[in-house]
Symmetry: D2
Subunit: 290 residues, 4 copies
């Protein structure tokens, strides 16, 4: 008789390693596959093969689940396997979790009566990841700038999740923080928290005074015209999803240092990012009433 | 030919006086009625009668528009007039703004082709008012408590507008802040801003350690059972709308000091509250393309 | 044989009551005299007479120790006794603590080989009291102003203990904080903490933009000339010791609201003020190796 | 006739370059020597030779003034010259400023009636440099740790200049901050600013719970015994002057990552560090009544 809930953790980077450790510490029966090149060989039980995956109660794919060509994203492994092959071996009633699951994967899973959950659809996952993203952005700004954040005029474009968390920390470090938003109610929030607020439509008129600009809006706000107004020596950090909000080609032509910082949580704080995955999966498992 | 946009400001308390002054300074032609008992007789042009109201382009009723018996809320006046009578004298195309407009008033206005706007439906109005509400709550806490907020364990129930703004300020004053929420994503926000977070469902288990409790949730969270767990000498401040979130009768039986603090912006910061009205009306006028 | 260290707590206001309670809870044998009119009759053992004071190991006079005419400061009592009479009954080796002890009292004590400690000479006592002083100042500002502190330009004159603690809290509440100081190094501190800094000598040139001014410097900084530059509706709160730093007569002539806020800890936060006394006495007793 | 005050800026790193630029922008006649390898050839007038130094009104040596063997510290130059030779060419009445001037240099200068000022003796210089030091420490912590500062328990040993500025910023980033101090009054300050405070003598008992430790005390506080109590994966950053406060050999034996971070302002924020030099020299020049 099966005693313990069994979770298979497949592929991924250091976040996925941390996740597997935390689940094991919590008492789950954990099997890992596709992370055999991880720095220290913790006591995680590596599986040579993933094909007895039907033994699992829950299968955790990484974030993102797939790399190029639909292969399981597994930078810490020398094995290569198609993500879809894994799903094809799953049995009805199993739970499949992963990040940025493609429509194809979701379809296959549903056809096999496998329940599917994507981390990215969880609001709390996005909120929690705003913290390592903001810290990562601050780290890069510190590394790239010759002056301190204290006393620097910093503009944060957009007051969504990352904008809120980033503005708060920049202010805590003594920067002079301006935040842009489009909605009146967001501008009201910005003032209630003590930042200077301007309408996003107006940034072209103000941006020339800002040696540090963070973009969080996934639309091309920092187009050639706006970039041309920036002071020389300005640093632009684009944290927006999708295809970013900066015309990087124009920035290069204009000699402006613009950095597209993507996937910061996994890069700058893999331990925290793994804990966030773990907390999210914890909530998911509670909700499916394990 | 009519040169300037004419605004009539009727009734209300000190906020409405401030509002009339700000509109006049901005260049509007302002007429006031029903605030003749205001502290200083500023240069606002009082109208003896309200019945030439058809001359106005815009009519501003106070917040709330009506007092008992449907009378215009006008604590700074000895005149008494039914709010509905005013509306009945308006002409098609005029703009009527007010706060907490009753369904009857709205209906009458619409039947006369008068455009109607209620401040309370504006998100930015609610956000901006969270600031004087939070400051007012802090002022009352300081007045009522024999100890400093610095070092005090304070619980904020609910992480909506008031909860967000209040928790931020309590932390700035050195209190030890716990915030409760029901949604996972709100708890993620609470942690991202450095507060201790607990689920609202759990407050019964934790509340015995909090000498200061602010409620912002308009549901009876602080029922008899929860109140019975509070430490003696505890102070409860209920800031929730509707009928509040505290069983005040039970609090009295139990000897717990519970204060129902309503309408704080107008009471503790009438100047700011008037400015907020003004900013909101400014946005409204922009949107109706004056 | 004497088992427990015996402390007599004489006179004083609610702080002294709180102090006596805390010492009793800590296990000391406590006797109180001269506070029989306190709100609730806690289980403190009142003494009818103070003249068996030689039984005490330590005698705690209040802050201040003496009121008018050298009488023990005892607003919660109907007994009247000269502070010097009490000292004259003490015996060699006893410890006498009090606040603002007059030279005469100190001399008498020393002549009798009584060890004397004054709270006011303890740096940590002054630092700790800066917190209730700052909170009290904020409470008064909130009560007196019609606008919120959030968004208000506030000037803090002086960056000593109260200036440091007050500026920090005003910033936490969203005020726009300027601090003045005379030394270059203090101005460096002011900038490091994110405030706007100006030289105290320059306040005459800047003060016209500040509707809220806190003085913490015990020299007449706010003289008639400077006061005349203040905007109407300005609020001045003087928190300085000695004879304050404001020409109150000139303020009245000029129609400026200036409040001399003295002894705030005992007034706005007697419980905290009592705890601070207790912590300070605790350190004193440790140092005399009880 | 001499029209403009002439300043010679010799040697140094990027800070010294920034300093020369700022002085030139301010209107001084600036000559530079010993920084010809600087990144961009700004319009600073390089001198081929330093031996017409008697033309200067003021000579600015870098921080530190001397490198190994008493040579002018000049990492951006291929010239090598003894600092003492420069002083020997100076004439009576000139002003010599520099950082960490050796006793020998001071003596020589005084014998020639050259006025001497050392940046390091200026309190405001030390306070201002605490900001880039604290930011640099935070940058290193972010780079080295796999988790976010938000939510991390961080201990700051010592509440001097760096301790004060660092604790403030760590709290602004959401870390859980404990500060240690030896004096009661410093512990009172620590609590007034909302940190957890413990006595430096007690760190051995508490440190096992801190994955991040910053030392600012120039005495061996982090000796072998204390280091042995640290949790594995702990990061120690030593920011103390002198020979630091960490037994680095013991740390290595114990497998604890301990980093001795020295001279952070010049490394992480040379522009700001140059501005600080400039502000300090500005004050010095004002005081010698140029």
């Amino acid at each position: 008789m099966k005693q313990r809930y069994e979770i298979w953790v497949l592929g991924g980077d250091l976040r996925q390693v941390k996740l597997a450790q935390l689940l094991q510490e919590e008492g789950y029966l954990v099997r890992v596959y596709g992370m055999e090149l991880r720095p220290k060989a913790e006591t995680l039980p590596d599986r040579e093969e993933w094909n007895r995956i039907e033994e699992a109660d829950c299968v955790l794919l990484p974030l993102p689940a797939e790399g190029a060509g639909g292969m399981l994203y597994a930078p810490l492994s020398q094995h290569r396997v198609k993500a879809s092959c894994i799903v094809e071996r799953m049995r009805p009633g199993q739970l499949l979790c992963g990040g940025k699951l493609s429509e194809e994967l979701r379809d296959r899973a549903q056809r096999r009566d496998v329940r599917v959950e994507d981390y990215l659809t969880r609001e709390e996952f996005a909120v929690k990841n705003a913290v390592p993203t903001a810290e990562g952005a601050i780290q890069i700004a510190m590394e790239e700038m010759g002056c301190t954040l204290c006393g620097t005029r910093a503009m944060v474009i957009g007051y969504g999740r990352i904008g809120k968390v980033l503005a708060h920390r920049l202010q805590g470090l003594g920067a002079n923080v301006t935040v842009t938003a489009r909605r009146c109610s967001d501008l009201a929030w910005i003032e209630a928290f003590g930042y200077h607020g301007i309408r996003t439509e107006q940034i072209g008129h103000e941006i020339q005074n800002y040696p540090l600009v963070f973009n969080t809006v996934p639309m091309q706000v920092l187009n050639q015209d706006v970039l041309a107004s920036l002071p020389p020596e300005c640093l632009v950090l684009d944290l927006a999803g999708g295809s970013g909000g900066t015309d990087f080609a124009a920035a290069e032509r204009l000699g402006i240092k613009a950095i597209w910082a993507r996937g910061l949580p996994g890069k700058v704080a893999p331990t925290t990012a793994g804990e966030i995955l773990h907390q999210t999966i914890h909530h998911m498992l509670q909700e499916v009433e394990v």
